[in-house]
């Protein structure tokens, strides 16, 4: 319900570390205020009913769907949005791993996933695959089937743990540390299977030679 005739409220809050004030109607959601009043359109509306997680932000350290919070409720609180996840010009490891592992296609749900995944890893530095899947169950992605998102969060967690262990190391050293060849999620070498039965079935000619490339071994075979 909207109240266009009513007077506007003045809301003061900290947004990504900076003091901000904005005007809003009493019925305005935090999502609309962020997007319209503050121009922070990185936070997305996918449903407006708290079912898709595209509008996920942090409010005084709590993960919320900003479409379900009134802007007026944020008075005096600290809001963190996707725009504040990277520090200066440096991407957060969750952002970097999303890019490195191709964990986004259209990218629309990505801000919500990144805010939620960062919140998870801050609370729980070493989550299992199942824990990641349940933590992110409130975020809908229609493009990826979640596979690469889960892998990106696993790898970002590993990188953050290394960072904590070896704060003195530079970025390149950290990357080397997490690129363990025995790591099941390492994509360094793309498995190439030239199967005899397959070669027989393949029809003649170089152009037609079939090659089978798999991604990674199935996780159930790694973690029985």
């Amino acid at each position: 319900m909207n109240y266009p005739a009513m007077n506007k409220l003045v809301i003061s809050a900290t947004v990504n570390g900076d003091a901000e004030s904005f005007l809003c109607d009493p019925g305005t959601t935090l999502l609309d205020a962020l997007r319209t009043e503050l121009g922070l359109t990185g936070t997305k509306e996918g449903c407006g009913s708290g079912d898709c997680g595209a509008c996920t932000v942090m409010l005084d350290g709590a993960m919320v769907c900003s479409c379900l919070v009134l802007a007026a409720e944020a008075e005096g609180m600290a809001i963190h949005t996707i725009e504040g996840v990277a520090e200066g010009g440096a991407l957060h490891p969750v952002q970097a791993k999303f890019l490195e592992l191709g964990a986004l296609q259209c990218g629309f749900c990505t801000p919500g996933f990144i805010v939620a995944a960062k919140a998870l890893l801050e609370r729980h530095p070493d989550p299992s695959e199942t824990e990641i899947r349940y933590w992110l169950a409130g975020n809908l992605c229609r493009c990826t089937g979640y596979d690469k998102i889960i892998r990106a969060v696993i790898e970002a967690g590993a990188e953050l743990r290394q960072e904590r262990k070896a704060p003195e190391l530079g970025t390149q050293d950290r990357q080397r540390l997490v690129s363990d060849p025995s790591d099941s999620t390492d994509r360094g070498a793309l498995a190439t299977i030239e199967d005899a039965a397959l070669s027989d079935a393949a029809f003649e000619g170089e152009a037609a030679a079939a090659k089978v490339v798999g991604n990674e071994p199935h996780p159930t075979e790694i973690e029985p």
């Binding site: 359109t41 899947r133 992110l136 152009a207 490339v213």
Partner: protein, 755 residues
């Protein structure tokens, strides 16, 4: 340049670099449909029909117009009178008059959620309040939802000017059945009478939605001089331009459409809904107008994929060779014709050689939103029935499901149902890869079952334009008109880099507006990496020729004496033999050696090849709750050649999961009044991360000889096999076969307890 190069020759193709638009998308900077702001912009809202079928007696807008902040009100009467014109709309053809009526109803509303009137105001709140002040006097009509109900004599008729196409003689009475497609060969009844095994059954499903997370959104600005701009998220800015210009009677050159980032489409964003309405409002108000749908609007009023009733009889001899297929399906067309039942007929048994067949497809209208393309449109529904029947034949004859399919699979040279022979396809290779995969032989626990299904989709090529330019410092820009819906900027940059023999990072890609680049067909039909890729490669090849010619002029030798090697010009003969000039050096001197270096390729890409896939699914069925859990999933696909394997795997994984959702959870639920009962993500249950295992994507590479790098379309076929793969797994886990989707807990529970 047309023969694929061997794998080892590639320097960029097949690697996994970071996409060029990636940082914008992980930091929230990318501007999507609902994000764009124009100076002085107004906010729009649309009033939608609460009725499934009604005649509009009158629309009262004066109260709304008088409200503070309201700058414009529009109804269907504001569209100019336009003549019937069949246009290509994404994947299929629609009458532009129907498209206009769907954007704003005239005289009749045909489904709950049908747009009736629109308002533009100075704030969203004012616009939302104003549409509540519009009064519509409806004469409510009887409605029809079901496929067979809509085909019955005396059923409520949606249109009095729609006659069944594809029947002879031409019907003299209008019908809700808008199209019939029949393909017959051999003697189907005799073949099935003589078959050793026949699987028959009726399969059903309600419509499902594409489920993109970004709702439709646009901003339009139509000036007093008749020129206009639209900023929108769409699978095809050019399709928006042609449809809106036709509907509003303006020249296409007067309308500049800028594609914003697109938050998913899957076929559903090949259509226009909001853009013409925003244009009408903008023209009246003299200011830019934004329209954005709510999620409820998206579910109620945008294109779901058709639901279906499918009757199938499939027969095989004792060796498992298919002898006959008798298939008749009816697909929902929704409110307007435009679906193409043909694709369902072609894809039904197109992946097998079947000597005798009677394949009948119907498109049937009803009081639902007009069906739109959804990833391999028309194929998953009928594939569910056919691949379920294949599983039954495998069980009846005691033949391994993969072996059964291998005995019938189409190979290169075999005829497609259209009579056109298949080219270098890889269905057999996919089946062999599935057979060899460790998943196929892994042990199963109690209450668990393993299902397998295969499928195909024809893919497409079509028109695309691309421009490749060399900057003064030797870096490269690529410009196309193909919206990047899943990482195609990366594959375009990779193919340009491969052709120019330069590092990937040296190439940057822009998706241009409709005034800045020539025509490209929509991003859809699994065509962009293939067709727009061909245009990019062709333009880059021309640039290589120009670079060689420029280097020759600088050296004072003949063009034939310069080779392009490792991204550098190399003089091959004469006094300068062995001298090299880098791309940067040629670029810096280009202005004095003939001018800037840039090339455009505009082509209608032919030589596309179909995609084939084989999926393996393990499920566990909970006898106490009827809940089905997917335990393991492997998707094998012939991808031609993967340019960027991460994004090819991503297409396979995403398509498979959409199919899993279709199989287990997703369905439109209408009540008796013809109103949608589940227009939100809470009740329209798409898969979430905790529902799923990892999806193993296995890429089989049978290169396309008609693409320089071997590309085949990969985006659509992954949604074809999952419905049957899941259902076959449930049948083997539960010992009962379910033929109605979704396989929801209540249905599975009932089936388990009826054993």
């Amino acid at each position: 340049m047309n023969a694929p190069q061997p794998q080892h020759a590639f320097r960029v193709v097949g690697t996994r670099p970071v996409r060029p638009d990636g940082v914008d998308k992980v930091t929230g900077k990318a501007i999507y449909g609902p994000d764009f702001v124009a100076p002085g912009m107004l906010y729009g809202a649309i009033l939608r029909s609460p009725h499934a079928h009604a005649r509009i007696r009158s629309i009262g807008t004066s109260k709304a117009s008088a409200l503070p902040g309201v700058k414009a009100v529009a109804t269907g009467r504001d569209f100019p009178t336009i003549e019937s014109l069949v246009m290509t709309v994404g994947e299929s053809a629609s009458d532009i008059v129907h498209v206009a009526r769907n954007c704003l109803a005239l005289d009749k509303v045909l489904y709950e959620g049908h747009a009736v009137a629109a308002v533009a105001a100075t704030s969203q709140a004012a616009a939302d309040a104003a549409i509540q002040a519009i009064t519509v006097d409806y004469d409510v009509l009887p409605h029809v939802l079901g496929l067979e109900e809509a085909m019955r004599e005396g059923a409520p008729l949606l249109h009095d000017d729609v006659f069944t196409k594809g029947v002879s003689p031409k019907p003299d009475k209008p019908s809700n059945a808008s199209m019939k497609v029949v393909i017959e060969r051999g003697d189907i009844d005799a073949a099935l009478a003589g078959a050793a095994a026949v699987a028959s059954g009726r399969y059903t499903m309600e419509p499902v939605h594409q489920g993109y997370i970004e709702p439709h959104g646009c901003v339009a600005s139509w000036n007093a001089d008749g020129q206009a701009q639209i900023w929108c998220s769409s699978q095809g800015a050019f399709a928006v331009r042609s449809q809106v210009a036709s509907m509003l009677g303006i020249a296409q050159a007067d309308l500049r459409v800028t594609p914003l980032e697109i938050g998913g489409g899957f076929g559903g964003k090949t259509a226009v809904y909001l853009e013409p309405v925003a244009m009408l409002l903008s023209r009246k108000a003299g200011r830019p107008v934004r329209l954005v749908m709510s999620r409820g609007d998206v579910f109620r009023a945008t294109g779901p994929a058709p639901g279906a009733v499918i009757d199938v009889r499939l027969g095989a001899d004792a060796d498992g060779k298919l002898v006959g297929a008798d298939i008749e399906f009816k697909y929902h067309g929704g409110a307007y014709p435009g679906l193409n039942a043909h694709s369902g007929v072609i894809c039904s048994i197109g992946h097998y050689n079947v000597p005798n067949a009677r394949l009948i497809g119907w498109e049937v209208l009803g009081n639902r939103p007009a069906s739109k393309a959804y990833r391999a449109p028309g194929a998953p529904q009928v594939n569910f029935a056919v691949e379920s029947a294949m599983d039954e034949i495998a069980l009846q004859l005691g033949i391994d499901p993969i072996e059964l399919r291998l005995r019938n699979a189409v190979r290169p040279g075999d005829p497609q149902p259209t009579g056109v022979p298949f080219g270098a396809i890889g269905y057999v290779e996919c089946l062999e890869a599935a057979k060899a995969h460790r998943h196929w032989s892994a042990p199963l626990g109690p209450n668990q079952g393993r299902g397998l299904a295969g499928g195909f989709w024809g893919n497409y090529g079509g028109p695309s334009t691309a421009q490749v330019s060399i900057t003064e410092d030797g870096s490269v820009t690529v410009t196309t008109g193909s919206p990047d819906i899943g990482g195609s900027r990366a594959s375009m940059a990779m193919m340009a880099a491969e052709t120019l023999q330069v590092p990937y990072e040296q190439v940057r890609v822009t998706i241009a507006d409709t005034a800045a680049i020539g025509f490209s067909m929509v991003t859809g039909g699994s065509r962009v990496t293939f067709a727009t890729g061909k245009a990019v490669i062709a333009a880059a090849s021309q640039v290589v020729d120009t670079l060689k010619a420029r280097a020759a002029r600088i050296w004072g030798v003949e063009p034939g004496e310069v080779a392009w090697t490792d991204g550098e010009a190399v003089c091959s003969s004469g006094a300068k033999a062995g001298e090299r000039m880098t791309l940067r050096q040629v670029a810096a001197r280009a202005a004095h050696a003939g001018g800037p270096i840039s090339a455009e390729a505009a082509l209608n890409a032919a030589g596309w090849l179909p995609g084939f896939a084989v999926h393996i699914c393990d499920v566990e069925a909970d006898a106490e709750t009827g809940h089905v859990r997917v335990l393991r999933y492997t998707a094998v696909q012939d991808v031609g050649r993967a340019i960027h394997p991460d994004y090819v795997e991503g297409q396979i994984q995403g398509g498979a999961v959409q199919g899993i959702g279709w199989a287990l959870n997703e369905t439109y639920v209408y009540n008796a009044d013809g109103r949608l009962d589940n227009p939100g993500f809470l009740d329209y249950r798409m898969p979430v991360a905790s529902d799923l295992p990892m999806i193993e994507a296995v890429m089989v590479e049978v290169p396309n000889p008609d693409h320089p790098y071997g590309v085949k379309g990969v985006g659509e076929v992954p949604i074809v096999p999952p419905l049957a793969a899941v259902a076959n797994a449930v049948a083997r886990a539960a010992g009962v076969r379910l033929r109605d989707l979704p396989l929801s807990p209540d249905r599975v529970y009932a089936a388990l307890n009826a054993r």
